[in-house]
């Protein structure tokens, strides 16, 4: 079972990855794709473990700009 703290952390991390362009999802589960975490870790120069370890978590909590880091691939006009 996840503790309350872990739940909060996962919730925040998912919100963070969604807000800054690493995932695009509306589902309310706490599942986080490891490739999205890896993409964030790659962008900020951390080890690409795909796990929200302490360094990754700390990075997510740092003060930052509100613009997205990644723009998702846009659909091409037909």
């Amino acid at each position: 079972c996840l503790t309350h703290v872990e739940n909060n952390r996962l919730f925040y991390a998912k919100e963070f990855l969604n807000r800054f362009g690493y995932i695009k999802t509306n589902d309310s589960s706490l599942d986080i794709s490891t490739s999205a975490v890896r993409a964030f870790q790659r962008f900020v120069g951390l080890n690409q473990t795909g796990i929200i370890d302490e360094l990754t978590w700390q990075k997510m909590r740092e003060p930052r700009c509100g613009n997205k880091d990644l723009r998702r691939i846009q659909r091409r006009k037909r």
Binding site: V44, K59, R61, P63, C65, N67, D69, I73, R76
Partner: protein, 431 residues
Amino acid sequence: YILQGSRWPSNEPLTFRIVKYPTTFPQQFVDAELTKALKLWSSASSLEFEHRKLKKQNEQKSNNLDHKTDIRISFEIGDHGDTEPFDGPGNVLGHAFFPQYGGDAHFDNDEYWTMKSTDGVNLFQVAAHEFGHSLGLEHSNKPDAIMAPFFKGYTPNFTLQEDDIRAIQALYGGKPSKSFSSPLSNSIEAYQAVSKQMAPSVKSSNKNSAICHDPQFDAIITIDDDTYIFKDKFVYRRSKLSMDNDYPKLIHDMFGRWEGGIWQTIPDQIDTAVTWPNQQIFFFKGKHYWKTNRFQLQAGYPRLISDGFRGLDEQHFFTGHLDAAFIYSGDNHTYFIKDAMVWRLNINIEFTNSIDIDYPQFVSSWLHIGEKITSALQWINGRTYFFSYKSYYRYDHINHQVDDSYPTYPRPISEWWLQCKHGASSSETAG
């Protein structure tokens, strides 16, 4: 760095206006810090800024001037009407819109804004970053760059980094100097013109004359600020200003590594090559490719192109022998051209990349150039050049068309890149 894809027309100074000041920071200091932040960008580019000051506080709402203001700056609290609410102290400090969306910059009024203190959030640093977005830059993954997304804490002597300078100059060109204010500033043509002015007697050596007799080549790349041109088994080098008389040299002697007492090298007569921003260079020939770190061949190569750049082999018509590989200045993705088709890599990472689902496309409809592309290059000025046998095109990646400068493109490679004259040997006629 990553360019968003829109920019301001650069023929007039950009105007900015602070339409809502923070509640806990003196206005004159806000003016000074924000002006200083914009000056960082204007000092490295052709941009100029003009401050439209509020005459009275009540101008805020009845502002005719606002219609004429390019970048509007405001300090906002929480939900402020743009679907990206601020979150109080910490976390998100500000955000800004790209030129095509108006260029406005918003700062979180709830932050503890400071000037020269390790406490709070340094306004100048955050403003410099947000204005980068206002000018057309996305977040950079270079941690030192101003355009990296995270606030680094108060940094004395905070200034643009190389990555930021390259980015802004890719969009707006470099700062015209007094002695050098051509509208072509920072282009190969401008350097050529300066080269002629500064060193009228500069001559390419006899060795360089070989390429002037047949001014087409296999591949062209940059390493640091120098341009390397590959033809058959030779490498030619030109600096910003002129061809290097110490060249050509043998490819065999320049790009290789010792392995088990044997000097392993990249092959002669390569098809094409591309330099990535991390100084890794990929050389392509047939269905194989080699990787070097600058001049040092990396172990484990050659490899199959289809292994390192997944997706290229899935096209039934792909048989290797690429014509061109380059990083396009419009989006800084890696592209490959082979005959009439162009492919785009999803991300610039070997092995984990893939070909974008929208590709391949026809070169003629993607570039609006009908000629066969034989090489391509993003040069040190951040512009992309396309080569077609003995001619070349400079590309306007903002409007996605061939640059409409005069003399018109295509222009002869021999004259502008190789400093040959009228197709003759440069040793006979240069200068």
